[in-house]
Subunit: 307 residues, 2 copies
């Protein structure tokens, strides 16, 4: 399972029941949190996400609407008796903020925070990985230091075709070598390519998170062919100048990013509090890129099924 659950879609301040930015990536029963606006822990409770399965926290930048849920969430993990270390990837200042808050409240977490400052990584390089998934950063252009994240499945192991192997009369002792992708030569001199006995693999799925950013060509190369793209769309295109001035994008720009990067599906979020009705933003994006949805609170996008 590879899915994205939206916890907050509002820009800058909560509005119309919309919370500030936060999302949960779910991959094979483990969770990864991207951004952590105020109220994230209430949203996690609402959608019954199990706190103790959160295996990593990824913070794009230090504006309040992306981080202010962090000190409360980390303290709650401790109250609910987390023991395993939690990796956090964020701009360096977050560590300083957490330390100051916990100093004044005399709070001591039960578990270890493994803090990794994003200033120490190069865009495009893998910053975190499991045996199946890897995460790299996408350099964005906002008013302060800001990065998106690319979650990508590793190349999948191809399944072995037993029937084909038997049909070709391959003795069992060669199976392991073939499974690992090695070509072999049988004792009778016959050559067998691994290719012949391996099923084609599903292409690796990928999710890119781009918020907050002024639209520009530079980060598009990092988004090429991703399965699902979340792109901020703070404003309608009629406010394109304001978007540029404040380091944000319009719905139209989000759709251009999707189209030019050849992604399979686009979801837009980070909506300005000036918009109660979000349909005009969706309609605007769909002009350039039809397969677009609103990234609203509670919605879950399954990368295998919903693209």
């Amino acid at each position: 399972m590879f899915s994205v659950r939206i916890l907050g879609s509002s820009s800058a301040t909560p509005a119309f029941q919309r919370f500030t930015s936060s999302q949960v990536i779910s991959y094979n029963d483990r969770y990864y949190l991207i951004d952590c606006g105020e109220g994230t822990q209430m949203q996690l409770q609402k959608y019954r996400i199990k706190y103790n399965r959160i295996d990593g926290l990824f913070i794009s930048h230090l504006h309040g609407d992306h981080i202010l849920g962090t000190p409360g969430l980390l303290a709650s993990l401790s109250i609910f008796d987390r023991k395993s270390p939690l990796p956090i990837y964020a701009p360096r200042g977050l560590k300083e903020i957490l330390e100051l808050i916990y100093k004044h409240s005399d709070t001591h977490l039960n578990y270890e925070i493994q803090f990794h400052a994003l200033e120490d990584f190069e865009p495009g390089n893998v910053i975190f990985q499991t045996d199946r998934l890897e995460v790299s950063i996408i350099p964005l252009q906002h008013r302060i230091f800001c990065n998106g994240f690319l979650f990508r499945e590793k190349n999948k192991r191809r399944k072995f075709n037993f029937y084909k192997a038997r049909e070709l009369g391959i003795p069992k002792k060669y199976f392991q070598l073939l499974k690992l992708g090695n070509d072999i030569q049988l004792e009778n001199g016959k050559k067998i390519k691994a290719e012949e006995v391996l099923f084609p693999a599903d292409p690796p799925l990928s999710y890119a998170y781009c918020s907050d950013t002024r639209y520009n060509e530079h980060y598009l190369s990092y988004l090429k062919d991703v399965s699902l793209l979340y792109h901020e769309a703070t404003f309608l295109d009629e406010l394109r100048n304001r978007a540029g001035d404040t380091g944000h994008s319009t719905a139209k720009e989000a759709s251009l990013a999707a189209k030019r990067s050849n992604v399979s599906k686009l979801i837009i979020g980070h909506f300005s509090a000036r918009y109660k009705d979000l349909n005009p933003l969706l309609e605007e994006a769909k002009i350039e890129f039809t397969n677009t949805d609103l990234a609203l609170e509670g919605r879950k996008f399954d990368l295998r099924k919903d693209l």
Copy 2:
């Protein structure tokens, strides 16, 4: 109008849709916020409290469940274009926390914060006042520096009884002196006491907020005869030792505080996340003090009507 609206009733961490501590005092169309746990601004929106009428923020102590909504709320006030200064009464460390967060996010508020460190005041002294209301601090006993707040109406001006004054044949030129409470002597030598021409005043109403605290005799003197007392009741009395160890009170202790201080009504809150059903806490408190209610999210207690 003098009322208290509960925004959060949960201790330490949100649970069962209960938010962490925050309350709004409403007095003659102005609002005063006590404590500001995570999500306070969402609760203010939910209950349609007008942000721009908040005239003061009072913070009891620096545990996260009482302050983590502050940086977001103050930033939102600025987004919604507040211009008037905001007085904040809080432990000194809050200023440091806000400054660090706003430094890293490069946030500049539109309005002035008038910060008053509670370390600089003596318990019992008035720290804030308007023409009708005054606020003083109640020294509590928690794991870290912590204060309650007493909101008390000033003595009310007594209304002038025109009919009585006319009946006594008092010329109009003396009315002002009498209204201000001065006794007079008429030209015919007759003495008139102000008392005779003034209606009795309503007794001043008062609200005391006591959270978080270990129960003790010391602060009871500050609560004497208050109209409405909010007292924390984190645990049932069967966990009295745990309450003592963690600097909290039980429902029974809250009711004893109410009874011994001769308050008119008690509301209890700051419930541990171990209690889904809160009725046992209410029942326990009612044994010693019948006029008790649960301080639950959204409930509003009117000090003139509901006592």
